[in-house]
């Protein structure tokens, strides 16, 4: 229920009056789930920068931001799906198919406008997402199974169509390859664009009725249905959006890496889910935010870069990543349990 109301729970007047200003502020900060990850991020950056000041150089920060964009985008779509108590495992395959098919357009049509390529990627992703959403919503089958199947099927289609071939950067126009490298006031343009998209997603989930309904569905699907929420339609939309965003991320991936084969994006679904979970989105739905997931993606990419800058072998990346993921889940669980019992105590006191 907490999540259905609003991330910042409305305070009752008696409650507000009985608390001093500073205590309320501390509590409010504590209650925002993202604050934990911001603290972790800040500590991590501070320690790394203290050891190796080069970590805070403009080029390095730009690198981290660009590196984050693809996973942050995927995490945005995944968050919407996870909040509704579903999961989308197919996004890595969608990204791969979209990356190849869209960048492959430059070969036969060298003059094709870049926005058209982005639209093509978006369309491919949307089509995949619509298929997922239709099967989950209309077929009423578990999304884990459906998207595990489409993970295989979409990757298989990718391989059947493009196996043994490769899109090389020489066949891509310079303007396309420059997308991840252009900056405004020192900030990479892609990072700005992705931040805007994430901001829109956050605004939608927070403010729009259909966005709030995703939280309600995730908290209790049966109650949501009884409350008159069109559960099927909302879940369908979440999957369609997740697919479309993965398609978009595919084009961005292609621009970033320049060389694309059929293995592009393999395993990205788990990275995106990691970012989502580290960002404080409950894996069983009903709570969490898009901003948190984006911060999760930023944290994961910061860690990878920090290890590199500190001269720690990249072979340590994954283990540290996994460890952090588990710590994040455990911490989130502890905080939730504490908060729930604290809120319950307060309620009984005021009753």
């Amino acid at each position: 229920m907490r999540a259905v109301l609003s991330p910042r729970r409305q305070q009752r007047p008696d409650e507000a009056a009985s608390r001093t200003g500073s205590a309320a502020l501390v509590e409010r900060v504590f209650r925002i789930r993202e604050s934990g990850i911001v603290v972790v991020l800040a500590v991590f950056v501070a320690i790394t920068a203290a050891i190796q000041p080069r970590f805070l150089s403009a080029t390095n920060i730009q690198f981290i931001l660009v590196d984050t964009t693809v996973i942050a985008l995927l995490a945005l779509g995944e968050t919407m799906v996870v909040i509704s108590r579903n999961v989308d495992l197919s996004i890595g395959s969608v990204l791969g198919l979209s990356a190849y098919a869209s960048s492959n357009l430059f070969g036969p049509h060298p003059g094709i406008p870049i926005p058209v390529v982005f639209l093509a990627g978006l369309g491919i992703g949307l089509a995949c997402g619509v298929v997922n959403g239709f099967m989950v919503a209309a077929g009423r089958v578990p999304s884990l199974v459906v998207t595990l199947a489409t993970l295989y099927i979409i990757r298989g289609i990718d391989i059947l169509l493009f196996s043994g071939k490769q899109v090389v950067s020489a066949s891509l126009p310079d303007a396309f390859l420059q997308i991840p490298r252009s900056t405004t006031l020192g900030i990479p343009n892609v990072a700005i664009a992705v931040a805007v998209v994430i901001g829109m997603g956050a605004y939608y989930l927070r403010t729009y009725r259909s966005g709030r309904e995703l939280y309600a569905i995730g908290s209790n699907p049966e109650a949501a249905r009884l409350a008159g929420i069109p559960v099927g339609r909302r879940v369908f939309t979440a999957f369609a959006i997740s697919g479309a965003i993965a398609g978009l991320a595919g084009v961005l991936w292609a621009a970033q890496y320049g060389t694309i084969d059929t293995s592009a994006g393999t395993g990205y679904e788990l990275q995106a889910i990691s970012a989502v979970v580290v960002g404080g989105v409950a894996i069983f739905g009903g709570s969490g935010s898009v901003i948190g997931a984006a911060l999760g993606a930023l944290l994961l990419s910061t860690i990878t870069t920090a290890l590199y800058v500190l001269g720690i072998s990249p072979f340590w990346d994954q283990a540290i990543w996994g460890f952090l993921l588990i710590v994040a889940i455990a911490l989130d669980r502890t905080i939730t349990v504490r908060l729930t019992s604290a809120l319950r105590k307060r309620r009984t006191r005021h009753a």
Binding site: V145, R155, D317, W321, I326, I329, R333
Partner: protein
């Protein structure tokens, strides 16, 4: 007393609608179509290769089945395989005697499973999230152990276990197939004929109800994760010997194949339903299709399409059965009124 013919259609159809029955028909179809498409399909040599290339996956489906029936999931299986393979290679390159390595690898596998189990049961964390975490962690440990190195040149006495056939089977059965059969029988008996097996179903149907019925849910679940860790470590050893190679990415991504087979076998992702017979049939269907497609020059990397399609069928066809029975009920009601 109602006679057989009076019984409503769904009751009559129920045994035929059992997922395992359908799966058995599918396996027979695959065998028939496969052997019609190419005479090479039903030869001993081919069956041997089939067992060889699917042995480790098959073995890992068994503990996964129990875990999913108990209402949880373990996505870290392939990483435990990779970790034990890396450990085996590392310790061998350091000159450890092989029996000592086996014991060590087995203990590490059990510990890896215990970590999963404790996080899931004691800290009450969702197993999906926990085992995605340990998937990264254990693969990461494998990467730390071996780095970019490859260890091979294991003693032939052991690598023969990976590629030779079991004596007295006429070159048709691999050791991994034999291990799978023995384990499948043990798992089948435990799951279907012991109180422990009933408990696993009960906690999958409702963990809370099982708890109140006096079943030690947490202890059993932790035990299942430890068992899974041990068996995946064994699969890692087999994998290493079969390829005579220990690298950090051994078995990468296999967890999804294992889960796919178990779900294909009719085990419910929500727990409480499924059978070992189904899983054995699921393994046969999976391996049979891969192999038939391989022999018919289908792009081998794209066989995932068929796995995926079967997986979809596994969730949609039972629903179609439900749809059928509700439709027939509606027709009966209409005809009675």
């Amino acid at each position: 007393m109602r006679s057989l013919t009076d019984r409503p259609l769904p009751d009559l159809l129920r045994p035929a609608l059992r997922w395992e029955t359908g799966l058995a028909v599918a396996v027979i179809l695959i065998l028939v179509i496969g052997s019609a498409a190419t005479p090479a399909f039903l030869t001993g040599n081919n069956l041997f290769n089939l067992g060889l290339s699917n042995g480790e996956i098959a073995i890992m489906t068994l503990p996964m089945t129990l875990i999913i029936i108990s209402g949880e999931i373990d996505l870290s299986v392939a990483s435990i395989l990779g970790m034990s393979s890396a450990l085996l290679g590392y310790l061998w390159s350091k000159g450890w005697p092989m029996p000592a390595i086996f014991v060590f690898v087995a203990v590490v596998g059990i510990l890896a499973g215990a970590v999963n189990g404790v996080l899931v049961t004691r800290l009450r964390l969702p197993s999906l999230a926990v085992t995605i975490g340990t998937l990264a962690l254990y693969r990461g440990i494998a990467t730390i152990i071996l780095g970019p190195n490859t260890v091979s040149n294991f003693p032939t006495a052991y690598t023969n276990l990976g590629i030779n056939s079991v004596p007295f089977t006429g070159n048709d059965m691999t050791w991994s197939t034999l291990i799978f059969i023995v384990l499948a029988i043990i798992f089948g008996v435990v799951l279907h004929a012991t109180p422990l097996g009933r408990s696993i179903y009960a906690m999958g149907a409702s963990a809370e109800a099982a708890q109140f019925a006096g079943i030690r849910v947490k202890r059993i679940k932790t035990g299942l994760y430890m068992l899974s860790g041990l068996i995946c470590a064994l699969a890692g050893v087999l994998w290493t010997f079969r390829l005579d190679t220990a690298v950090q990415n051994n078995g990468l991504g296999l967890e999804l194949s294992v889960v796919a087979i178990v779900l294909l076998a009719g085990v419910s992702i929500f727990g409480g339903k499924g059978s070992i017979i189904g899983v054995v049939l699921g393994v046969l269907a999976f391996a049979g299709i891969q192999n038939a497609l391989l022999l018919t020059n289908f792009n081998q990397e794209a066989t995932g399409i068929v796995t995926g399609a079967l997986l979809l069928a596994s969730v949609f066809l039972p629903n179609a059965g439900l749809f059928l029975s509700s439709a027939s009920r509606r027709i009966r009601r209409l005809s009675q009124s």
